[in-house]
């Protein structure tokens, strides 16, 4: 928040209208980015902590179903997310006089879509950790820094190199952040963009959940539990 807020403050001192607009994109973008980042990290590290502490066998022999485990970790992650976003929102207001609530109720559905996308990415990461073990841990953090520039969190994707723009267009995060910039510009929420983003998020969740189930089956079939005993 401090980093991006300071950049926003600096950019905002430039061209009177464009600078203010860019600083709004930066501040709103980083707060909403925190939603997807935190939701992804919370769920991914939930499993990673079980592997770090070698507790995964303890979990797997209990009657807890896989969906219950993931649901519990996601729910716990939402608590951490609520705390994190609250701190960022208050910091933005206190340090940079940016009141994100002025963007209106449209923030809520955008945040919800980003939350779901974060979970979907975490399912991919969990699946890779189950399949490849500790070698895939870096993805828990690293993958988000690939998604971030491609999603146009702080800028329209027209600013991306041409070769990357098709990739950006298929990400469900891209229309969500585009809708967010519309709110920063003072426009009403673009429900079309949001619907497109939500459909992409649902498809991504379905795909990633299927991948996770598949990787769990591989984990059991190949006896990878012995990595953690």
């Amino acid at each position: 928040m401090l980093l991006f807020g300071s950049i926003a403050a600096y950019v905002g001192t430039g061209d009177a209208s464009g600078g203010r607009q860019a600083s709004g994109y930066l501040l709103a973008g980083i707060i909403l980015w925190h939603v997807i980042y935190q939701s992804q990290i919370a769920v991914s590290t939930g499993l990673l902590e079980e592997t770090w502490t070698r507790n995964i066998l303890n979990v797997m022999v209990t009657p807890v179903r896989e969906v219950e485990y993931v649901g519990g970790v996601a729910l716990f992650g939402m608590v951490k997310l609520a705390i994190g976003v609250s701190v960022m929102t208050i910091s933005a207001l206190a340090f940079f006089s940016f009141d994100v609530s002025e963007l209106g109720i449209g923030l809520v559905p955008i945040g919800a879509v980003l939350l779901v996308v974060g979970w979907a990415i975490s399912f991919f990461v969990m699946g890779l950790v189950l399949r490849f073990g500790s070698g895939a841990e870096a993805l828990a953090w690293g993958v988000m820094f690939v998604v971030m520039p491609l999603s146009g969190v702080f800028y329209p994707i027209d600013a991306l190199p041409g070769v990357l723009q098709p990739v950006a267009k298929v990400l469900p995060t891209t229309p969500a952040f585009e809708a967010l910039r519309g709110l920063v510009d003072g426009d009403p929420l673009d429900w079309g963009l949001l619907a497109w983003s939500a459909a992409g998020a649902v498809a991504l969740v379905a795909l990633s959940a299927a991948f996770l189930v598949r990787m769990l089956a591989v984990f059991r079939r190949r006896g990878y539990i012995t990595r953690y005993t």
Binding site: N58, V61, T226
Partner: protein, 303 residues
């Protein structure tokens, strides 16, 4: 009547708690488990024995549902583990010396959490009874980080028994315990088995412990069941006075060998190597060679 028949007939009319049939598990380098079948009845205390690499832990993991068998099936109280893993797991407890405790919780909190996972709304009474049974009530307020490895093992056993499982699976339960504490564990486990009808399936390298705790021994070698009966019978079939001798296969496989096929001779196995082992290789060197011979490879995947 053979000892095996007696051991089985004494439990023949009791409920089958565990039915594992034809379990096969291949890892990339070798076959870890090769057609293992085990039936355990309520209240029965069964030891799963074998040298390193014999397939004991892989078999346990298949029975616990954390490793999927390539062939065969596992049923817990008639429920297929493959189709009803969660319901079946409700009836099973598992403890092992290598299982960690959550370090940032007190023992009481840790046990409460696991009790609730197993459906106990308020497990306070079960926690107190379990801690008392294994004489570690004084550890209830201790943090996980404050416990010795032996104390962690004891807490793990209490945790595994909180929900009064019908089947208690224990992998090397006394491996890190002092003799007096190990005896306390054996006493506690016998009580649980006799008072609650809990079936025990135990792996151990301590043959004296097995003799004192278990009434039946299933001996694995190279992924196969090669002996199944009372400790006395398994020792006798092996031509040994006690179970310790079963680990030293100087006279070949036990007569109860149930290998399904007679393939080409395996030059890495005991039967082929042992006769050429110089008699003067005494002490640790001889033991090491014998263990290497009976367990020619470690069968863990990717370890």
């Amino acid at each position: 009547m053979r000892d095996t028949d007696r051991a089985h007939s004494s439990v023949g009319d009791t409920e089958v708690v565990l039915e594992a049939r034809g379990l096969v598990k291949d890892y990339r380098r070798a076959r870890a488990v090769d057609g293992v079948g085990i039936t355990v009845h309520a209240g029965e205390r069964v030891a799963l024995l074998g040298p390193n690499g014999a397939g004991k832990t892989t078999t346990l993991f298949m029975i616990l549902g954390v490793v999927a068998p390539d062939e065969g099936s596992v049923e817990i109280l008639g429920r297929s583990l493959e189709r009803h893993r969660s319901r079946a797991a409700e009836q099973v407890g598992f403890a092992a010396g290598y299982l960690p405790l959550t370090e940032r919780m007190r023992v009481r909190e840790y046990l409460r959490m696991f009790g609730q996972i197993y459906g106990l709304v308020d497990p306070t009474a079960q926690i107190e009874a379990g801690l008392e049974r294994f004489r570690i009530s004084h550890l209830a307020g201790a943090m996980g980080t404050e416990l010795s490895s032996g104390q962690r093992t004891l807490v793990g056993i209490v945790r595994a028994t909180l929900h009064r499982p019908r089947l208690l699976v224990l992998d090397e339960p006394t491996a890190s315990l002092d003799p007096d504490v190990a005896m306390r564990v054996r006493t506690g486990l016998r009580e649980i088995s006799e008072e609650e009808g809990t079936a025990l399936l135990v792996t151990s390298h301590d043959m004296s412990e097995v003799g004192r705790l278990c009434e039946r021994v299933v001996f694995l070698s190279q992924g196969r069941v090669v002996a199944d009966g009372t400790p006395e019978q398994v020792a006798r079939d092996h031509g040994s006075g006690d179970l310790e001798g079963v680990f030293l296969p100087a006279r070949g496989a036990p007569r109860g060998d149930r290998r399904p096929t007679d393939g080409p001779p395996d030059m890495s196995t005991t039967a082929n190597v042992e006769p050429t082992t110089p008699v003067l290789l005494a002490g640790p060197a001889a033991s090491w060679l014998r263990m290497r011979a009976i367990a020619p490879s470690r069968l863990r995947p990717d370890s």
